[in-house]
Amino acid sequence: MKNSQLLVCISRVLFPFILVFGFYVIINGHLTPGGGFQGGAILATAILITYFIIPERINIIDGLVRLEKHLFLWIIVVGSLSLITKGTFFTNPLPIPAGISFKRIFLVLLNFLIGSKVAIGLVAIFTSFIEEGRS
């Protein structure tokens, strides 16, 4: 498949900026619009742009899918932490009068896990399509 040189060149320039923007949207999810899912989709776009640059890339679909399931178990564990301190599922484990610099650890952690899970999931879907088309 012939790629145009212009697209390859611009992708090389744009790749680090999209990556940084994706991480910015994920980590600041509790202050600005965005959060886990939206930032994860932007990260997936950044990784998939590299298919224009180097056509032979990721070959480990099985490893990616299993890593995604590991992340799912970690999300359930972090969500059940509040069972010990407050007695219900899926709330902030720290008590309400605590300072905001402690409470936002939970939000940033959960956003980060969800964002990476979404990014890996979307990359796995598109990689399997490209593998199918190549064989």
Binding site: L31, T32, P33, F37, Q38, L122, I125, S128, F129, E132
Partner: protein
């Protein structure tokens, strides 16, 4: 104005599903209907000149955040259904050798 736009796109999508002969066209029409529904839901939460829905001093008129949160889940469901449908149509092409609905009924895998 905006809800009427969503209804027009839904009718276009339904018309496409009724008259399309190819499998890929039917999947794309399904995606069109779903995008129109997401647009309709997002318009319901819009309150004129509202602000971002985060509690800060001095803001009273906020946009409704509930439809936005629900639509994230809907986008994910739509993406996975479309991806799965495309994968199945690749397998159909392997077994039957055609991608038209009419010929699919007659041939045998």
């Amino acid at each position: 104005m905006n809800p009427i736009l969503s209804f027009i796109i839904i009718i276009i999508g339904l018309y496409g599903m009724v008259t399309s002969e190819n499998i890929i066209k039917s999947i794309i029409c399904f995606s069109i209907i779903e995008t129109a529904l997401i647009l309709l839901f997002l318009n319901l939460g819009n309150v004129g000149l509202g602000d971002i829905p985060i509690i800060v001093e001095g803001i009273t008129n906020m946009v409704d955040p509930l439809p936005q949160a629900l639509m994230i889940t809907t986008i994910v469901i739509g993406a996975s259904t479309t991806a799965l449908a495309f994968m199945i149509s690749i397998k159909i092409f392997h077994y039957y050798g055609t991608l038209e609905w009419d010929e699919l009924l007659e041939r045998e895998g």
